[in-house]
């Protein structure tokens, strides 16, 4: 049946490609509008321009991979990997430039780590494509890389000298290992998702998961940032110091953007609706609710894009009142990187779902078979796990050199250990209990969720000794 549908579908047309490239151009123009590109310093090969070139090629690659994912035209992949190679070249140059300018490996701030993370992601994409033949992986990883580069533009910091505790070779060892391990975990997550597609998991299950994830994003934004009279509070930003404004130690100054809170709440409700329809269809055993749910996803994407655009326009530049202090204070996108990446991530997840909904037979044709995906997932985890181990060990050794203790149950340490334990459980279940297939895939996904929490959640929710990054 699926095969029959696949054959009925139109063969790949150039139109899709043109539309996608057009979208990429619009996106780049938008970035240029955000004042990203600069020739002020006179030197053409400055870091900003190198990053912009990286962005152009990664966007091109992302568009082509998406085009490949949607139409299944093999020839797109060649150009996509060429674009990835070129982007990687500029990315490497940007890292080298940063390294030269700073005099130390670029691992000391969120910005510099994103730089390395995106680089690792691009390398792994090429490896997965060339070595394992998972061509469609770029459809997922390149958009992530693009989001990373955009985030970098907003988080751009001047070269900061290293505080004494960070002046150690072990810093570089530790962070390199962390980046490699996390990128391998990200890859295993993407592969596990693909496995679930190949394993004939129902499309509506993906619908429920997509809806639940976007719901979680908007719920966390609304619950933590909704202010009186429908405003949305964001951290204030000091443009001169390029830093957040602090009222006291660890107490940030927040400004309130009026009415944005209502928009976020509305989006929250619309984003939740597919989940409600899904629940109804399960409860009433009636598939017509699923049609409604899919329409609701489409509507939710429109609203999410609207929320994102309004957020970008409002938070990009402007002065807003604060509840904690008199007067108006400026804010900037750089002050709210996590809300921004959450909103972009929400749109991205929903779009991936649409891709699955519309082109599932094509995807199934393009992806390696379920058994292979299962094995490759295990292989990436068997790379990630030793890397995680070494990352924790090098961190402990460095901590022992710096703080005089190899383990102090700091939240980041604890969560790194939890990540390690989750993957250790996965390996035990797989090796001794013979867990294969779905259960192993769920485990890989859960493991990556923990990695994400360790990387982002702990930094912003559970402060501790790792206050640098």
């Amino acid at each position: 049946m699926a095969r029959a549908r696949a054959e009925q579908q139109q063969p790949a047309t150039g139109t899709t490609l043109i539309v996608l490239v057009g979208l990429a151009v619009v996106f780049l123009l938008f970035m240029a509008f955000l004042n990203v590109v600069t020739t002020k310093t006179g030197n053409l090969l400055n870091e900003t321009n190198l990053l912009f070139a990286t962005l152009i090629f990664y966007s091109g690659a992302g568009a082509l991979y998406l085009g490949f994912g949607v139409t299944g035209t093999e020839s797109y992949v060649k150009f996509a990997s060429l674009a990835t190679w070129l982007g990687l070249l500029f990315n490497t140059a940007a890292i080298a430039h940063r390294w030269y300018e700073a005099g130390h490996a670029p691992f000391s701030s969120v910005y510099e780590m994103l730089l390395s993370f995106v680089w690792t992601l691009a390398v792994l994409t090429l490896v997965a494509e060339k070595k394992y033949g998972v061509k469609v992986i770029g459809t997922v990883t390149m958009p992530v890389a693009i989001v990373g580069v955009v985030l970098m533009q907003l988080l751009r910091t001047d070269v900061h000298p290293l505080v004494p505790a960070l002046q150690s070779t072990w810093l570089h060892v530790h962070v390199t290992l962390a980046m490699l391990a996390y990128a391998a975990c990200a890859l295993s997550f993407a592969l596990a998702m693909m496995f679930l597609i190949q394993d004939n998991m129902k499309t509506e299950t993906f619908l429920a998961v997509t809806s639940a994830s976007t719901l979680a994003i908007y719920a966390s934004v609304v619950l933590t940032r909704f202010e009186k009279w429908g405003g949305l509070s964001l951290a204030a930003w000091n443009p001169e110091a390029k830093a957040e404004v602090f009222l006291a130690k660890n107490v940030r100054l927040f400004v309130t953007i009026p009415d944005l809170g209502w928009l976020m709440t509305l989006t929250l409700l619309v984003v939740a609706s597919p989940l409600v329809f899904y629940g109804l269809s399960r409860w009433k055993n009636n598939d017509s609710f699923l049609t409604l749910a899919n329409r609701a996803v489409f509507l939710s994407i429109l609203l999410q894009v609207m929320a994102l655009v309004v957020f970008l326009v409002d938070a990009y530049d402007g002065r807003y009142p604060s509840l904690d202090a008199d007067g108006k204070f400026p804010t900037s996108l750089a002050a709210s990187p996590f809300i921004l990446s959450g909103l972009v991530g929400g749109v991205f997840i929903s779009l991936l779902y649409l891709l699955l909904l519309w082109r599932r037979p094509d995807l199934e044709r393009l992806l390696p078979n379920a058994d292979n995906l299962d094995r490759i997932t295990y292989k990436t985890i068997s790379i990630a796990f030793p890397l995680l181990t070494l990352m924790i060990a090098s961190g402990a050794y460095w901590a022992n050199q710096t703080w005089g203790s190899y383990w102090s149950w700091d939240p980041k340490e604890t969560w790194a250990a939890i990540t390690w334990l989750v993957y250790a459980l996965y390996l035990h279940m797989r090796i001794t209990r013979g867990w294969r297939g779905r259960r192993a895939a769920y485990f890989a996904i859960a493991g990556f969720a923990v990695v994400m929490f360790t990387f982002f959640g702990v930094t912003y929710l559970l402060p501790g000794l790792h206050a640098y990054a």
């Binding site: 900061h160 000298p161 290293l162 505080v163 004494p164 505790a165 002046q167 150690s168 072990w170 094995r375 068997s382 790379i383 796990f385 030793p386 181990t389 070494l390 060990a393 402990a396 050794y397 460095w398 022992n400 050199q401 710096t402 703080w403 005089g404 203790s405 190899y406 383990w407 149950w409 939240p411 604890t414 969560w415 250990a417 939890i418 334990l421 989750v422 250790a424 459980l425 035990h428 279940m429 001794t432 209990r433 702990v458 559970l462 501790g464």
Partner: protein, 495 residues
């Protein structure tokens, strides 16, 4: 009764050594550790912050359960010990089997094994010897070291020479990989052991030294003081800044003093500690100690005659200004306040400093209190025989050292190294085995060479390897003349 006890012990052992128990325990550790990062922990939180975060009742419950100090609670320690016990038991339970597998490799495949094994392949051969030789050659060419093996039990229908017709070929690589998981488990136990040793006999504390000061008293985390059998002297300490003012480097020149002698000297910086007899001294901070290192003054005689003198004073130093006048640096108050004609020390932070000098004239036997800044209520600045002007105040600095004694850390580091090695073996070193046995079909009387292979992980890659080997054997078979040794001998004799 005795049997029951034994059964009970056996049952307990089965439970402890089972993978289910291990998984449940690990999940518990994960949950509790996560809780420990979400609930504020007493050791790293100020008491008033705790109180503002939780209602008194909630705080009482959290304290009673131990959730405010998860990582030092007895139940968390107990849980970690249970996990170690479980790892140890599971390893002991499974080890004999693996050891048998390791120490007595299965070299000659019997018929049922041959039937079940995957991958396997049968190639037609002229006779036993050519098949065996081809297999040997092929295995040699891919770097294996094949050996000729015989079955453990000779079949009943054996010929005159019991071994003839029953040779097989066996080759293997990386047998140690079968034991790798025990290396990993042992390394984890070693790490746990190290941390337990540190928990029982280790300690951590701080030692703040002013430049020039010697001390052997370390203030421990729990507020008590520990006297070291040797003392540490700080000869100098300092800070270097980046151009934007953020600190770049803190350094201290330390000397270990034992029985009055300097036994070791080192300049330490952050990330590079001094180690002496198992005690490590880390640079952790640097700052003003609120004390005066040197006060520079210009003194002019009050009667206008005489010359200006520049003098430098530390606290309690006395300097003669002329034959019968001396000045003493009596007191330095980092943060002062005046009330009812008295000068008070408001705090020890350097905020509003005051300097107290006492000028003594032998002739009049009278003391004059000179204050900077001049405070009308208490100061005799104008009455004193000399007028002073403070030109420079150099503050003293302290260097903050973290001191720790971790006797178990060698266990931890050797465990970590072993863990790395073990994991490398677990994931990347594959135990590969190849067998080749000539088989005679009892109906047709034709010979074929049965080739089989097995790998303990990464089986898909191994299958490629196996088919490559089969191709090699086929090539060797073509190269070897398809004549049996007896025929060859016959031809030689015939000549």
């Amino acid at each position: 009764m005795a049997v029951d006890l034994r059964a009970l012990a056996h049952k307990t052992w089965r439970i402890v050594a089972s993978i289910q128990t291990g998984v449940v325990l690990l999940i518990l550790v994960v949950i509790l550790a996560a809780v420990g990062t979400i609930v504020l922990q007493r050791p790293v939180t100020e008491p008033d912050e705790m109180q503002s975060a939780y209602s008194p009742q909630a705080l009482r419950i959290l304290d009673a359960v131990g959730l405010t100090d998860v990582f030092h609670s007895w139940w968390f320690l107990g849980l970690v010990l249970l996990v170690s016990l479980c790892i140890a038991a599971a390893s002991i339970d499974r080890f004999p089997n693996s050891w048998r597998y390791f120490s007595r490799p299965y070299k000659y495949p019997d018929e049922s094994f041959r039937r079940a094994l995957h991958p396997q392949k049968s190639l037609a051969i002229a006779d036993e010897e050519s098949g065996l030789m081809a297999a040997e050659q092929a295995l040699h060419s891919v770097g294996f070291n094949p050996e000729r093996v015989i079955p453990r039990t000779i079949p009943k229908d054996s010929r005159a020479d019991p071994y003839e017709g029953h040779f097989g070929i066996f080759a293997e690589r990386h047998r140690i990989s079968e034991l790798a998981v025990y290396i990993v488990h042992a390394s984890l136990l070693l790490i746990f052991f190290g941390t337990v040793v540190d928990g029982l006999w280790g300690w951590r504390g701080t030692l703040n030294l002013n430049e020039g000061q010697t001390s052997n008293l370390v203030e421990l985390r729990d507020g008590t003081t520990r006297a070291l059998p040797f003392a540490i002297r700080c000869d100098a300490a300092g800070q270097e800044n980046y151009t934007d003012g953020t600190p770049k480097k803190w350094w201290s020149q330390l000397a270990v003093v034992k029985e009055g002698r300097d036994v070791q000297k080192k300049e330490i910086v952050v990330n590079d500690p001094l180690v002496y007899s198992g005690v490590r001294f880390y640079q952790s901070s640097y700052g003003p100690n609120g004390k005066v290192d040197k006060l520079t003054l210009v003194a002019v005689p009050g009667n206008g005659s005489g010359v200006k003198q520049e003098i430098g004073l530390a606290v309690n130093d006395t300097v003669a200004l002329d034959a019968d006048t001396t000045v003493r640096f009596a007191e330095f108050i980092p943060d002062y306040a005046v009330r009812d004609g008295q000068v008070y020390r408001k705090s020890n932070e350097l905020g509003n400093p005051a300097v107290h000098l006492v000028v003594t004239s032998k002739g009049t036997a009278k003391d004059f209190d000179v204050w900077f800044p001049p405070m009308d209520e208490v100061a005799d600045n104008l009455k004193a025989p000399y007028q002073f002007q403070a030109t420079d105040l150099k503050m003293g600095h302290f260097t903050g050292l973290q001191v720790s004694h971790e006797p178990g850390q060698w266990g931890v580091w050797s465990g970590v190294v072993l863990l790395g090695v073990g994991l490398a073996f677990v994931f990347y070193v594959v135990h590969m085995r190849f067998w080749a046995v000539p088989v005679c079909d009892s109906k047709t009387g034709k010979y074929s060479l049965w080739i089989g292979g097995s790998a303990n992980r990464n089986r898909d890659a191994f299958e490629h390897r196996f088919s490559d080997l089969v191709v090699l054997v086929e090539e060797e078979l073509k190269a070897v003349p398809r004549t049996s040794p007896t025929e060859r001998v016959a031809t030689v004799v015939g000549n």
